[in-house]
Amino acid sequence: MEHTLSTATWFWLIVPMCTVAILSLLGFLFSLLKGDNS
């Protein structure tokens, strides 16, 4: 039998941590667009 990670394990392994990383990068992008990081 081939073992794999369940969908729930994948979800909790990936989604919360990647979400905060992506939100941080988007926040930086918006601050650049607003000209906050001149």
């Binding site: 990670l5 729930a8 909790w12 919360p16 941590m17 939100l23 941080s24 926040g27």
Partner: protein, 488 residues
């Protein structure tokens, strides 16, 4: 035991010398106490981010987390999830306000200094209580970090424990003594980069050696399928308890001081992006290193799971790279100790010496008092670390939760709630710390919950109730709060 080859030793000594050079460079650029304990608020976003990350993540990142993953599997991920969410919320909601408010509140350079100035506490009670809490917990925290470093090198290279303890301590104290905050931040920056590279490199090489990700997962499943299940042996209660570690971030003085030191509040967005990307990738690296170790050591299990990273780096890499990877482990430990040492020194210098004993001390005098206290506190920590089995070091178990519950809600509410009063802050801080200490003594049912959660909740309620029962803050305090909000 691992053999210390010449290339490994050379790489390792080069790393230690590099740290000393950074200390020397910043020795020449330190002119006053603000430079020494806060870098004169000249920290760039990238350095602030990586130094906050590196000083936050102690040896746990390269020893504890991979070890837990190796021993138990995927259900150990929850603590990393909680930490990421906590760190993100801290950057998102606390960083910018704290940077702006500490400057407006009479250019406060320490957390106790900020609390006193924020609430116009002329009695100095708030400053003294918070500085005592910082000094007490960081003395044990620093000491237990030194024990971890010395034990690691004793076990790895057969170095005498006391020799390892002194070598590590002398290097850390030297650069912290000379260069203060900027030296600590820049060494943390390079140490953070080293940790990051090590945590990306090691799991990629190990998983590749095992024939790829799918193959590794399949083999772990063959060894023990429960190690693939993130919910194995977990209750909702247990998951919440593990994720509650993330609440600790709001009250860690050695982390929030980085927010205060950023050169402009406009740098915060960049720092947050760099810091969170570093943290998330580094945590994944630690998770996958431990996970891949399950397969790699399937036929020859490790006696101590925490050596999974160090053993893989010795087995899979040539001695030059192995030296760098070893330096990464020491980096994780050193970058936490140096930051805690400096925060303790700033509490003694700014919050006791300057505030209570020598109000008119010159800047040169204060810098030298700061340097002397770094050396003095390190010496005490080394003596405490002489006996690694000492029960007094067990107090470190209270530190993360204690700081989180005592300072976390106080710092957050002081930044967001104009109506908060000094008495609210004081009662909240004391009740938060007391709850953590008492909760930890009790077992069973709800008392198995990580104590930071009840401590955090009780501190928050205490701050709100006492502040509402108290007189409204003076108009100048309310004006200053409004000024902070306008400056955001």
């Amino acid at each position: 035991m691992i053999s210390m080859s010449i290339p490994t030793l050379v790489t390792f000594i080069a790393y230690l010398l590099g740290m000393l050079v950074i200390g020397l460079i910043f020795y020449r650029l330190t002119n006053n106490l603000s430079d020494y304990v806060l870098g004169g608020r000249q920290l760039g976003g990238g350095v602030a981010a990586l130094s906050a990350g590196a000083s936050d993540m102690s040896g746990w990142l390269l020893l504890g987390l991979p070890g837990a993953m190796y021993a138990a599997g995927m259900n150990q991920v929850w603590i990393a999830v909680g930490l990421c969410i906590g760190a993100y919320l801290n950057w998102q909601f606390v960083a910018k306000r704290l940077r702006v408010y500490t400057e407006i509140a009479e250019d406060s350079i320490t957390v106790p200094d900020y609390l006193e100035n924020r609430f116009r506490d002329h009695s100095k009670v708030l400053r003294v209580v918070s500085a005592v809490v910082i000094l007490l917990f960081f003395a044990f925290y620093t000491s237990s970090g030194m024990v971890a470093g010395a034990t690691l090198f004793q076990k790895s290279f057969g170095l005498d424990y006391t020799t390892a303890l002194w070598i590590g301590s002398i290097v850390i104290v030297s650069y912290t003594f000379m260069g203060g905050f900027m030296a600590v931040c820049w060494t943390d920056f390079f140490q953070g980069l080293l940790m990051f590279l090590a945590l990306i490199l090691v799991p990629i090489v190990v998983v590749n050696a095992e024939g790829g990700w799918s193959q590794a997962v399949n083999q772990v499943g063959n060894i023990d399928p429960t190690k693939l299940d993130i919910f194995h042996d977990m209750t909702v209660f247990g998951i919440i308890s593990l994720m509650a570690w993330g609440l600790g971030y709001f009250g860690q003085p050695h982390i929030v001081v980085r927010f205060m030191a950023v050169k402009s509040s406009k740098e915060i967005a960049k720092a947050r992006a760099v810091g969170m990307t570093w943290m998330v990738l580094a945590l994944y690296g630690a998770i996958f290193t431990g996970f891949a170790g399950i397969v790699y050591f399937a036929d020859n299990p490790l006696q101590n799971p925490e050596t999974v990273f160090i053993t893989l780096s010795q087995v899979l890499f040539n001695p030059w790279v192995a030296g760098v990877l070893l330096a990464a482990i020491l980096s994780a430990i050193m970058s936490t100790i140096d930051s805690q040492l400096l925060v303790s020194s700033s509490a003694l210098t700014e919050d006791f010496y300057k505030a209570l004993l020598r109000k008119n001390a010159s800047e040169t005098e204060l810098v030298w008092v700061g340097r002397s206290t770094v050396a003095g506190i390190a010496l005490i920590a080394v003596f405490m670390a002489y006996n690694p089995d000492s029960t007094v070091l067990g107090l470190v178990a209270y530190a993360w939760g204690g700081f989180g519950a005592a300072f976390g809600p106080v710092i957050i509410l002081s930044l967001f709630w104009q109506r908060m009063t000094r008495n609210g802050a004081l009662v909240g801080m004391i009740l938060g710390a007391v709850t953590v200490v008492f909760w930890k003594q009790l077992d069973g049912g709800v008392f198995d919950m990580y104590e930071i959660l009840p401590g955090f909740i009780i501190c928050t309620i205490a701050v709100i109730v006492v502040s509402l029962l108290d007189k409204e803050p003076q108009p100048e305090i309310q004006d200053e709060f409004a000024e902070m909000e306008r400056a955001l």
